[in-house]
């Protein structure tokens, strides 16, 4: 099933991505990255519980460097909006949510 995920489209639509990119840029990223202390205050505005937001952060920080780049931030925003719609935050990141830039090349 892993191979199939390479080709599936990213669930973040380009229209949404543009919106999230604007927010990303307004937070003055350094070298294209936002640190937790910049992302946290924004996500707190969603009024979601901190444990939910903590899970969103862990799922979004795909390369686990403690920072969010543009694509990872879009994943975080997507998950927060879904959570606001009462959708449960998944325990692990579903393949269609992994940004194409972060997908592993198929192993042959």
């Amino acid at each position: 099933s892993g191979a199939a995920s390479i080709d599936c489209p990213w669930v973040v639509k380009s229209e949404e991505k543009m919106k999230y990119d604007l927010i990303f840029d307004s937070l003055s990223p350094v070298s294209g990255m936002l640190s937790g202390d910049k992302v946290k205050p924004v996500l707190l505005n969603s009024k979601l519980p901190v444990d939910i937001l903590g899970r969103v952060w862990e799922l979004s920080d795909i390369d686990r460097d403690g920072m969010l780049d543009r694509d990872e931030f879009a994943v975080a925003m997507y998950l927060v909006y879904r959570a606001l719609e009462q959708e449960p935050v998944p325990m692990s990141l579903p393949a269609p949510l992994v940004p194409p830039s972060k997908r592993k090349k198929p192993v042959t």
Binding site: L27, G36, D37, K40, P41, V42, L44, E58
Partner: protein
């Protein structure tokens, strides 16, 4: 005197998150919400819906 530590067997099954998670980091406990609120439009919409019904 912490109730549990990171090497507790309770956590051995899950992948530990080594890098700082700003939402679970005590140093960032006092962070206040940002004036940048991408969700305000979302909440406004909800309020309008609620007041119409």
């Amino acid at each position: 005197n912490p109730a549990f530590t990171l090497d507790s067997p309770l956590f051995s099954n899950s992948t530990p998150y080594n890098k700082k998670n700003p939402f679970l980091d005590e140093e960032l406990l006092d962070v206040q919400p940002s004036p940048i609120n991408p969700f305000s439009a979302y909440f406004d919409k909800k309020e309008k819906k609620a007041s119409q019904s």
